[in-house]
Amino acid sequence: LVGKALSAELIREIEKLLIQADVGVKTAIELRKDIQAGWERSEITTGTDAWEFLKSQLIAYFPDEDRQIHFAESGPTVILVAGINGAGKTTSIAKITKSLRDEGKTVLLAACDTFRAAAVEQLEIWSDRLGVEVVKGKQGGDPAAVAFDAADAAVARGVDCLVIDTAGRLHTQEHLMRQLTKIKNVVGKKIPGAPHETILVIDATTGQNGINQAKIFTQASDVSGIFLSKLDGSARGGIVIAIREELNLPVKFIGVGETPDDVQPFDPPSFVEAMFVE
């Protein structure tokens, strides 16, 4: 791209790169048209111009101010974590917990995945390694009841943060989406303003279906931000751009490995650069 004169062919090449990064046909075509228009007005004349333009457009999607965690003014801050099966929720919770602890905050975990085999045990192992406590319920029990107990315990123990793990669910499973709404409402009744953050975990390998995931999870639980997991592979995670375009959801963290240290705040410039690395 860099160093070449802009041509119709090069513009098509840019569209191809965008699609291969999973931003989706619609978003890719829109961005391509913007470049095309700039070219026709002679504002964009080289590959370098196009690349700089594209970079600035993409970075502008993600302003600084909405990348922070919103903490409660008083009492426990509740962070609800949701997403489809295997996206990386439980591991991402270990990462969030570690970084909260590193900031000196006390954390309590809620094991609301009462469905999947050994889901509670998985969270317990992380809690042991991180030195935090977990509130859990019965296997197969009502996850909202666990959330309620956990909210109770968070207030009673005066912890700074309560992080809630939930079972993986597909956005197409209406009863499970209603269950998520119930979990959210239950903690809201116990702790005013809770959950203060609802984090949707999206696997960076996700294709166009990610847009529907974001849409329906937002309807069910007012998603406030995205944790983009598994960005340490070769997938570019461009779906978060399409999600931003359609739903205006910010990305707050990225996951880059399987240990609690493998988390970074979302940094738009390096994310965008990495989207186009050969």
């Binding site: 191809k16 699609i19 999973d22 099966n85 469905f115 317990e124 956005h171 166009q208 070769s234 240990t259």
Partner: protein, 323 residues
Amino acid sequence: MLGNLSEKFEGVMRKLSGQATISEGNVRESMDEVREALLEADVHYEVAEAFCETVLTEALGESVLKSVEPGQQMIKIVHDELVKLLGGEEAMDDEGRPIEREPIMYVQPGPTIIMMSGLQGSGKTTTCGKLAGYMKKRGKNVMLAACDLQRPAAVTQLEVLANQVEQEVEGSGKVMFHGEPEKCAEYGQAVGVAVQVANRALESAKLQGADVLILDTAGRLHVNDELMGELRQVSNAVNPHQIYLVIDAMTGQDAVNSAKAFHAQLELDGVVLTKFDSDTRGGAALTVKKIVGEPIKFIGVGEKLDALEEFHASRIASRILGM
């Protein structure tokens, strides 16, 4: 939100219907719609391009241009070509019913060794449980072996599933479990241990007369050389008869890279596509089939142990096209 190919074609053909003849240019134009539909379904960019070229040649040869319903004719060509790419239509008997083909080849004497592989969270462990159920129903004795020593509680997860299958699934087969939880370690500390566990699992499977041994393995990134090497070592140690790649059907354009790398390291024998119960169009299936060349054996359609189906090319083709 996602456009539907039939609708798109109707639109194109309506535009064309005012004209006396349909030209090659018109057909080319409608191929852009096909391309877009494929990309929206997560078919890989280059696979989509190549596919459109093939269809175009076919369409012009099949004299779509002279056909009474060119739109319908085009849809049929696209659909049939997709089915071909996905592994072909199943064989039918004289009454037009699909002939049952056993998707798994069992060796005599056993145990038939099956190894699962794939990216993190794709559904390997769950699929091990589902396969055990599938085989138990068919009278096979199955041993599940926990060769993921890394992910917290992975061994317990497989053990719980093994017990669940043994208790809940009807069938004369027996489901056994081999796990060595004391060998688990934190990330990076257990690399290579899986090889020893797999060896001992094979011994135990032989001793206990298992017909099938299914090895669960840790999720790993195709770009992680150390862990990909471990998987190759496990494979060299026990010589699986079948190695499956488990792929999340919601995967986007990167499916091509991971499938290529796993296939290069392991020479895969088949693919299991999971989470097909979502609303994904599942275009990654097409990409993966093209890369791996081996059949898609099963699709996962839920979290429960019986949510495993044999693969049908034509159903998936229609779904990719949004029909």
